[in-house]
């Protein structure tokens, strides 16, 4: 059990249920400031449900859930981003009918719009390929471009913790490289990250620690470097 820290994310004993299906059961973990945690697991393991619970987008029960000292359970879903956690949802979920710029502006909805222009420029620095689509409807972008937009949208709020749900899903290998490089750069800038992924190899390379979920429970956790060498993990998640 990890004691609540004044900063960072701590989750204790989280459970999520959909009807009769127990998606997550008794999960506890923490992400300290500047740290990068990975959550890997098969389909139905409960990874996405965990994230949705943290962002209060789905009902859940937990002993406690705190971010930067504030109780998440007492926070309304639309206030979570103000606490400093930004979400890159599974499947991108960009606003297809709005332009790329408006999508980015939405990322900063809860922040002051005064320096918005600068923030957006910083996102374009990170994703130069997006810049020419500034005025284009987001729905017309390809999957990879939409993924970049989704990450950019989350970054516009200059979050303390960036939470990504399967960013590599459905992307071409060359694009996954780009995204991995971007995430690595963010890490070196001190952004904390919570990365949920099917791609274990990618996750081990981008995180300090990892937890492995199976059927809604944590079955392994530890340093990414250590887990990567674990024979059981290698067999199931790396196919080696």
């Amino acid at each position: 059990m990890i004691a609540g820290t004044a900063s960072g994310l701590t989750v204790q004993n989280l459970s999520v249920r959909y009807g009769r299906v127990q998606a997550v059961s008794g999960v506890s973990f923490s992400v300290a400031d500047g740290e990068s945690l990975g959550i890997i697991g098969a389909n139905g393991a409960g990874k996405s449900s965990t994230l949705k619970a943290i962002f209060r987008l789905t009902d859940s029960t937990a002993e406690s859930m705190h971010f930067a000292g504030t109780s998440l359970q007492a926070t309304q879903p639309h206030h979570v981003v103000s606490l400093g956690m930004a979400y890159v949802p599974e499947g991108r979920r960009i606003f297809a009918g709005l332009s790329v710029r408006k999508n980015l502006m939405m990322g900063a909805y809860r922040s002051s719009w005064r320096h918005l222009g600068d923030r957006i420029e910083r996102v374009y620095d990170l994703f130069p390929a997006l810049k020419k689509f500034d005025d284009t409807l987001a729905g017309a972008l390809s999957g990879g471009q939409q993924q970049m937009l989704a990450i950019g949208r989350a970054l516009v709020s200059e979050p303390k913790l960036l939470v990504l749900d399967e960013p590599s899903m459905g992307l071409a290998p060359v694009l996954i490289d780009d995204i991995a490089a971007t995430l690595r750069r963010l890490r070196s800038q001190g952004v904390s990250m919570l990365l949920v992924e099917q791609n274990a190899k990618l996750t081990f390379g981008l995180t300090d620690r990892c937890i492995v979920l199976e059927n809604g429970r944590i079955v392994k956790e530890g340093l990414s470097a250590v887990l990567r060498a674990d024979p059981a993990v290698r067999q199931i998640y790396l196919g080696l």
Binding site: V21, Q145, P173, I236
Partner: protein, 597 residues
């Protein structure tokens, strides 16, 4: 085993015994309730099941009433002759209203149908033929030799019989393949078409059923009330019907009936406070939508699900006639030779964007063919053209040598082409087994005539289909969630279900759009094995994928896309070595990533 619900025979008995204890006025109310229940059932079929926003249902009710009234007064027809004519006229009007539904859907259709209904009302009020605003009166009663049907009690039985027949038939439709096809169409039109459902036909059919039932109710109403005016079928009635279906539960026949009972009873109890009546209805609808969006029926089935309660029933033992066990992934057709799929210089433009530009490729019989390339390079558009969702601007598509260019989705399904979708298109409000059963039904829409002339065949096919569906689910390790709503499954299981559903149609060509998205290494191995098994059973497979592991190890030939064009084709080894492909798509991924790790 057939289970007959305790409920149904008891209800029928109650219904038939009721007039004995009720007074004349209440019987009139009961008749009105039953008539509304009939119309509400029609609305439930077209809107709840078929997903067609039909705000002209009250007008169908009105058409039946007015035509019958006109024929029997102005033209002095015998009511028993006028009745079928009136019902036919209503069916014709229903089909006319259905025409916009072929191209227009959702709230737009709502406004179109509502507008037509309002126009109808206005026509009735302003035309001398129909008696204008004062309507038609002195409508003759119905009579049978020996029975005086002008009395409430006898009329009650007439209407009750009609109700029992109609509800019985509606339940039969709802719980078998026709109802399921309606729901599939409602839940996801593209996936339904890809599963062999001819959408236009079913939309027309949904409206036809609604009109048929509304017309019958109209005829029965008019010979009881003996008077009809435009007000009887105005907007107020339409909203009342809508309320019944919403509160009862959109895709529930019983819900429509219960809704009718509740609302007419409420209306009668509230006659004292006329002014607040509409307010009360409005409040009730709002409350339902907020607290129980699936209506009473939805709440009931949620309770059942939560506590695992079956409906109370009497099991009727039957000598078990075991359904023949279907073979695992049975061979679709004796192995065909030659070219399974040929795409010849296909181009597809969207508002100036060349999604596909002169694309050609060939897939041999029994091949596992991979289609790779960056996002937005046209891969899914290619599938959409092949499976009939898009018509190409130029070029041709051949399936087993036959030119299928521009054929629509459902026809491609009939020709043996099945597919999965990049963004998962399951029938979310159907259960897992129902999703598969939809695809297992390979009968054309015309076969539904069986509902009228050979219902036992419908029942038998249902049983066979369910057995085969469960067996297929077992192959895909989804058997344990067979009765779970598809939307409640985890993402990975939903993906597996989509593949199972595509296979249920016994395709000769299977198009898989990014089947490995979201699978971990172990599951990818499983998918590879599944793809090989599918091919070994006789189906040619074309796969769009980003997962290089899968592509390199399973695909025999590859076609590489870039910006809507084919930039390379050949064996995986050849393609992986091509500098064009490496730059556009593969990247220097492997060595760099390894080094970083």
């Amino acid at each position: 085993m057939i289970r007959i619900g305790f409920g149904k025979p008891v209800l029928v008995a109650l219904l038939l015994l009721l007039p004995i204890i009720l007074d004349s006025y209440t019987i009139h109310v009961a008749i009105l309730i039953m008539l509304f229940a009939i119309v509400a059932v029609g609305l439930s079929l077209v809107m709840g099941f078929g997903g067609q926003v039909n705000l002209a249902q009250a007008a169908f009710f009105g058409t039946g009433a007015y035509v019958s009234a006109l024929l029997t007064t102005t033209y002095s027809w015998n009511p028993w002759l006028a009745a079928p004519v009136a019902v036919l006229a209503t069916c014709a009007i229903a089909l006319a209203v259905a025409i916009p539904a072929l191209r227009v859907q959702s709230h737009y259709l709502g406004i179109v149908s509502l507008g037509l209904a309002v126009a109808f009302s206005s026509l009735l009020s302003n035309s001398d033929l129909t008696g204008g605003a004062s309507g038609i009166s002195k409508i003759p009663p119905l009579s049978l030799p020996g029975l005086d049907l002008s009395g409430p009690r006898d009329y009650y039985y007439l209407v009750a019989i009609a109700l029992i027949l109609i509800v019985g038939f509606a339940l039969f439709v709802a719980n078998t393949t026709l109802g399921r096809r309606f729901k599939a169409m409602r839940d996801d039109m593209l996936a339904a078409a890809a599963s062999g459902i001819e959408i236009r036909y079913y939309r027309l059919m949904a409206f036809l059923l609604a009109g048929l039932v509304g017309g019958v109710a109209g005829v029965l109403y008019v010979h009881n009330a003996r008077y009809v005016s435009p007000d009887t079928f105005g907007l107020g009635v339409m909203f009342l019907l809508l309320a019944m279906v919403i509160i009862g539960g959109q895709d529930s026949i019983w819900g429509a009936v219960v809704g009718a009972v509740l609302l007419i009873t409420a209306r009668n109890l509230l006659t004292g406070i006329q002014t607040y009546q509409q307010l009360a209805y409005g409040g009730l609808i709002v409350a339902t939508v907020v607290f129980a969006p699936r209506g009473l029926a939805g709440a009931a089935s949620d309770l059942r699900r939560r506590f695992d309660l079956p409906w109370p029933s009497i099991p009727i033992p039957r000598t078990a006639r075991a359904a023949p066990p279907p073979p695992k992934l049975k061979v679709a057709k004796p192995s065909r030779q030659g070219v399974a799929l040929r795409v010849d210089s296909v181009s597809k433009r969207f508002r100036g964007l060349h999604a596909l530009d002169g694309v050609s490729l060939e897939v041999g019989a029994g091949e596992i063919h991979g289609v790779i390339g960056p996002n937005g390079s046209g891969k899914t558009t290619l599938f959409n053209v092949i499976s009939g969702i898009y018509r190409p601007n130029s070029g041709r598509v051949f399936v087993w040598g036959r030119d299928v260019t521009g054929q629509r989705s459902f026809r491609m399904s009939r020709l043996g082409v099945a597919r999965t979708f990049q963004n998962l298109r399951l029938f979310r409000q159907l259960t897992v087994v129902e999703n598969v059963m939809v695809a297992l039904d390979r009968d054309p829409a015309q076969a539904h005539i069986g509902y009228l002339i050979a219902p036992w065949v419908v029942v038998r096919k249902e049983r066979e289909r369910r057995a085969r569906a469960l067996s297929l689910l077992r192959d895909f390790d989804l058997h344990d969630v067979a009765n779970e709503l598809a939307v409640n499954l985890s993402y990975g299981r939903q993906r597996r279900l989509e593949i199972a559903r595509a296979l249920a149609a016994e395709p000769t060509i299977l198009l898989l759009d990014e089947p490995a998205a979201g699978l971990n290494a172990a599951e990818q191995e499983g998918l590879k094995a599944t793809i090989r098994k599918i091919r070994d059973a006789g189906t040619t497979v074309v796969v769009i994928e980003h997962n290089m592991n899968l592509v390199m190890n399973v695909c025999e030939r590859l076609t590489v896309f870039g910006h809507g064009k084919v930039i390379a084709a050949g064996t995986p080894r050849e393609v992986a070595a091509s500098p064009v492909v490496i730059e556009a798509y593969l990247g220097q991924a492997t060595p760099e990533a390894e080094a970083a790790l």
